[in-house]
Symmetry: C2
């Protein structure tokens, strides 16, 4: 039995203005009718999976319940945002040692779920052998926006020991890794035994684990929700699980997988996986494109007309209209922070 | 006394989506709080001017009355669109021979009204001497979107006999005319005695004048409005006053004037006369421009955010959003005809 842990604490602005405030990216129907969160629930459900444990902030509880559509879930509510290590520590603190935890971000897309399931099976074998397992996405381009994982010695046919983690590289280094092979993207998806991670946290980031443990011991239980205690949880240093544990531990494995993964980390990334017309334009709404190519439009209820435009995004949400070249997608933060 | 004749029959789509249907360009507040039509009323009002005669279509009567804001006007309602020669013929047919008619489009902007008034005074002298007078805009660039007027012999210091009319020229010819001097843009503003124009029309385009005359004789009077008779008016060939009369007559004068004129014939033209910030962006609404230059935004009630954009127009009207490079402004017709 695998216990899915869905990290739902993000409130990113990278897909502003569609994503903002309580309506965070994971709750949006970015690539179809279902939200990214609902799709994440779906891909780790069924035989072999326990009811998912969702870790989220108080602002998102209503949205989580609504989008769970009656499915049984368990909720851990973070009283403050302390990055992924502390969020995972909350899940670990409430689990028995031999529980297999499958940690997943709630705002990614995985097109090939059978491939993901097959990788989970391999990862579970390694986790039972006390490996902390990360899933490595087989890269198809020298993307400089991701961290990379270098594979070391093979662990049977299940995966590899991790040789090293590489932070977001310059282009030349990304190209070299792609050419060389044996590297994958770090997607932030993990599988491990709770007891093994507890030991690792106590060794590598004890302040984080102790804070999460105390916040769990003092939690308020409200139906299916566990409200972690604020005073204790706020003591946890904010750090990512990669920095706090994975890069420090010496028994970390990677299971490479090619599964149509995207973190949808920008409107450009969304455009890359969207269904496009023959001119490369993508729009789920009412678009008239004249002599225009490679554009991405999201404008619910509006009628967008493009004349002579190339490779731009037009994103409409309520009274907000964002227009930018797709390759400037990273700069959306400027508008998001000015507009809110 | 000068009788202003305001041609208000246009329903152009060049400023789509702001301009469409009954809310034609002349009724929009393109360059400030007042509509172009209201500004046209203002610039030919006061001592020396009779109450303006507005020639418009039935669809625009309500808007004309509303934007006249209680000012006394006379209305001639065209039962069909037959271009400017027939519209002017309606005004001529209802005027006494010695009336000075000042014909003006309703959708242009003239920044320097005193310069216009001074030109009117000169033109009136020529018109009293039986010249058909056109006002020539002193060009400041080799624009290929206008017709040009070549000046001939000087008529005192009032103006010049017209040597020839030049249709929208290729760039090289426009540049040559600009270099050479003695050429001006044909702005479609005219001054003449009604009797003189009547004779000219009977000589050059009798079918148009006879149709307008019959439509006037059979008109229905409704308060301050004269509803020209449909059956007769529809007999009028559709032609511009330039083709039908001005280019054929041998006593046509031009009064050159530099008066901050624009026909606002495209969003690019609107941007050219709009007040811009130091990055060249113009917006009367709520704009956040990040690393963006030379853009024009019109989005009443919306909040537009531009990131990394240059020289584009973003025009919002209701549910319609148009995005295009300003130098593609002529292609707005494609969107207008697709969207309506």
């Amino acid at each position: 039995m695998i216990q899915p842990v869905i990290l739902c604490g993000g409130a990113g602005t990278r897909l502003w203005p569609a994503s903002r405030g309580a309506r965070a990216k994971q709750f949006l129907d970015i690539v179809g009718e279902d939200s990214l969160f609902a799709r994440t629930l779906d891909r780790a459900a069924g035989p072999g999976f326990a009811a998912p444990l969702v870790v989220c902030g108080a602002a998102h509880v209503d949205m989580v319940r609504q989008q769970s559509r009656g499915r049984r879930i368990r909720l851990i509510v973070e009283p403050a945002a302390r990055n992924t290590a502390a969020a995972i520590a909350l899940a670990v603190a409430s689990a028995t040692d031999d529980t297999l935890l499958l940690v997943m971000p709630s705002d990614h897309i995985i097109a090939d779920v059978p491939a993901f399931r097959a990788a989970i099976t391999k990862a579970a074998d390694l986790a039972r052998d006390s490996w902390l397992v990360t899933f490595g996405i087989t890269p198809d381009r020298p993307d400089t926006g991701f961290g990379y994982i270098a594979s070391g010695v093979a662990l049977g046919d299940a995966g590899y020991a991790v040789a090293r983690f590489v932070e977001k590289p310059p282009l030349a280094e990304a190209e070299a890794m792609l050419r060389q092979g044996g590297h994958s993207w770090n997607a932030g998806i993990f599988l491990f035994e709770a007891g093994r991670m507890r030991e690792a946290m106590l060794a590598h980031c004890p302040a984080i684990y102790r804070a999460a443990e105390a916040a769990t011991a003092n939690a308020v239980h409200d139906g299916d929700a566990v409200l972690a205690a604020r005073e204790q949880f706020e003591q946890a240093p904010a750090d990512s699980i990669d920095y706090a544990v994975m890069e420090k531990d010496d028994r970390v494995a990677v299971v490479p997988v090619s599964m149509g993964w995207s973190d949808l980390g920008s409107w450009q990334a969304v455009h890359a996986i969207a269904g496009c017309d023959e001119a490369g334009n993508a729009c789920t709404d009412d678009l008239f494109a004249y002599d225009s190519r490679g554009c991405f439009v999201r404008a619910p209820g509006k009628r967008v007309s493009l004349v002579g435009m190339e490779n731009v995004a037009v994103i409409v949400d309520g009274d907000d209209i964002l227009v930018m070249p797709l390759d400037r997608s990273q700069d959306v933060r400027a508008a998001a922070s000015a507009r809110g």
